[in-house]
């Protein structure tokens, strides 16, 4: 283990990532998970040298692939670290080299080999109307694939608002009868909603799983409390402006330039549970309120209906 870790750090340094930067990242993941700092070395161990990489089967249903793309934006670990050294991604339509029959064979072989042991990551909603004919892959409906694969997983992680709550295609009038995973298959997935979800929260969930051997504590909607325990509003850096009654009432105005509260512009932060203000996106670069745009509530069930019109104040 020690030797492997040493090699791991050498490899990191070759890539221009210092051990210090890596430990800083592990501290960030540990903090995101809500664990004490004594867990930092253990989190580092997860990334450094798992004995056998946990098998992941990643299913795509009704979605836009934005959640896969979000995962590819991960840094520390970079996506190649995730794929080559941390996880064993047995099936993922966007990155896998195999095609057609060979791809289908991979899926079936992986489900069989890792039955009750693999992590199933689901991206996208499942069409249920007219027996699910609105979405097919490899000649089978998404519904059939979901029914076969998902119940055989050790743990299910639903990412994005589509897999968790049905997402945009489930908005009224929901032409294809789209639903989230737990509304179709009798399992309780770890739900990581968002449009897209923040990849740091998937990494946090996976680390939790590898480290503790179990899924993290969840709220009533299946969302990990480490990420979805507080509202945007409660963590918002513009909160003091709300308390002082300092509001933006027009984009591009002096108040907007001063960074006043976006409540009057329709911000859904007070009713939205997520860690955007703290974790931010793209390596901590920014998040919607920082870019002057109200929160649209994308981690809440049915937000395409319940949070719209987006620019109407709550």
């Amino acid at each position: 283990m020690e030797k492997e870790q040493k090699e791991f750090y050498e490899r990191l340094e070759k890539k221009g990532v210092s051990r210090r930067a890596f430990m800083k990242y592990c501290t960030f993941v540990t903090a995101t998970l809500g664990l004490s700092s004594s867990f930092v070395p253990k989190v580092a161990e997860v990334f450094a040298a798992p004995q056998k990489r946990p098998a992941v089967i990643w299913l795509h249903f009704g979605e836009c692939t934005g959640c896969s793309e979000a995962m590819l934006r991960s840094t520390y670990p970079y996506p190649d670290d995730l794929v080559l050294e941390i996880l064993s991604v047995e099936y993922h339509e966007t990155i896998m080299a195999a095609a057609g029959q060979q791809a289908e064979d991979n899926l079936h072989a992986a489900v069989k080999k890792y039955k009750d042991k693999f992590v199933c990551i689901v991206e996208g909603a499942i069409p249920t109307k007219d027996n699910g004919i609105y979405g097919r892959s490899g000649g089978r409906t998404f519904l059939e694939i979901a029914q076969e694969v998902i119940p055989q997983a050790a743990a299910v992680i639903a990412i994005g608002n589509c897999a968790t709550f049905g997402g945009i295609q489930a908005a009224k009038p929901n032409p294809g009868g789209y639903k989230g995973v737990s509304d179709v298959i009798p399992v309780q997935p770890v739900n990581l909603p968002g449009c897209p979800y923040n990849p740091i929260n998937l990494i946090g969930t996976v680390v939790n799983y590898i480290l503790m051997g179990k899924i993290p504590a969840l709220d009533a909607l299946g969302r990990p409390l480490f990420a979805y325990g507080k509202t945007i509003h409660d963590q918002c850096p513009r909160r003091s402006h709300f308390e002082l009654g300092e509001f933006v009432t027009e984009f591009g105005s002096p108040e907007a330039a001063l960074g006043y509260c976006l409540y009057e512009m329709g911000c859904k932060g007070p009713e939205t549970y997520n860690n955007c203000p703290v974790a931010k996106y793209n390596d901590g670069t920014s998040w919607p309120v920082e870019a002057g745009h109200p929160c649209i509530g994308c981690s809440e069930p049915g937000f395409w209906d319940s949070m719209t019109p987006f620019f109407k104040p709550l």
């Binding site: 190649d80 449009c195 591009g252 330039a257 920014s286």
Partner: protein
Amino acid sequence: MGNRIIVDPITRIEGHLRIEVEVEGGKVKNAWSSANMFRGIELILQGRDPRDAPLFTQRSCGVCTYVHYLASVRALEAAIGVRVPENARLIRNLLHGAQFQHDHIVHFYHLHALDWVDIVSALKADPKKTATLSENSNNAEWGGSAYFKGIQERLQTFVDSGQLGPINNAYWGHSAYKLPPEGNLMAAAHYIEALRLQSRTARMHALFGAKNPHLQSLVAGGVTCVRSLTADKLTEFLHLWKETQAFVENVYIPDLITVASFYKDWGAIGGATNFLAWGDLPQSDKEPESLFLPRGWIANRDFQNVRMPDQEKVTEHVVHAWYEDGSPKHPYQGETKPRPGDYETGGDMSTWKFAKPQTGKYSWFKAPRYEGEACEVGPLARVLVGYGLGKKEFKDVVDSTLKKLDIPATALFSTLGRTAARGLETLVIGTAMENWIMELVENVKNDDTKTYEPWEMPDNAMGHGLNDVARGALGHWIEIEDKKIKNYQMVVPSTWNLGPRCEGGKLGPVEEALIGTPIADPKRPLEILRTVHSFDPCIACGVHVIDPDSNQVYDIKVL
């Protein structure tokens, strides 16, 4: 106007595509492109607040994020009649430029490369020779035999683990792979470097757009990110642009030339006939005159004769799509009702053939046509239009590339030409971005931070936005009634390129392009993937190969 159900373009783009071809004498004789998912976003939009449309339509595609957001905001602005401030135009162009860079790099290295690069062969490469190849062919900042040895060892460790994950069971060793082991190792290393680079490239979006994928800073009238016009954010953007542009110049373009030199025969395979570009990246209020990527239409490959297209001449055909029959219609009049029953008559899709359904319908895609003709859209169309119009930016890079590869201009009409055009326009757009950043800096320096123009929602209005995005010509059409969306239509790149036959039985571009493609092994139709991927459908597609000799049916999913 009846009950309107519109094929959701996201569905079309991100839905699973099925390609069915007929092979005879080792070549594709006939082809059908069939989209396999329906989401219905345009239908979902009806009755909603028009201001919400950009946020909804952006979810059409997360790979090609931002572009529907932009297209929708533009359609809305056209309907309400508002002009955006200079800074908003510049920021939108910069975000769009970054999207082109990001999208094309990811396509070349992560979605398309494995059609040309045999990863397993890389394990046999001599790292020293690979280092020499690399030094002679590109200006990458990394290299040397120790570097390539490290990459090879990393791959070997991965293979030895027995957990092959994403590289398991592919077409490795196929006779159509032509690169020597050293070329394959170099490409494998660049695959990894590009994977890391793209996450930094995408940060350009976060700087002015909050996050990527799915930006959140555009509104009709401008942008919301007035507080991002600061020295630190501008500098960070400039730095990320520089890093990306250096990669394009020093690695992407040289790799393109290196790989292409082994596959020159693909300069005669996979071409289409007509080309359409709406153009994009406005340099002022004037459209189409000021578009950096020019607007143009080319018929019968006559690129010396670029004509100005008119959106009035766009129609969508449904005769071969799973909708109630009707005459071809312009997007404003589009009238479609899904007939999923036809889909079911296909029965078990593992043995389903196009000929079976009585109706002749075989896709969730409608077939867009310009003046009744199928048109290829995307990088090749844009480069041909720019080249045909004699625009220097395009002419220089196209001519020098043709010279380097020693191939004629007619070789552009091919799978190779399409893939090359994508790289060349990445270079051209990236080069232009520097000026836009500096213009923005200059404005901020002069205390011009205006980013938004106020407006009022009219009771009734109609408008459209014509755009050209990574995958091609994109149009959004909106009709507003009583301040609500009455109708919304999107005609997207992948329906142009991957749509089915039209009323006259004319094939869609990818169907046409596939005909004549050599197939060495019907069980491993690598060649089909090359042409289909060259259009960058960027989705999981189903390819269905029929071998009439054995009547054997193979299901091949293009990923």
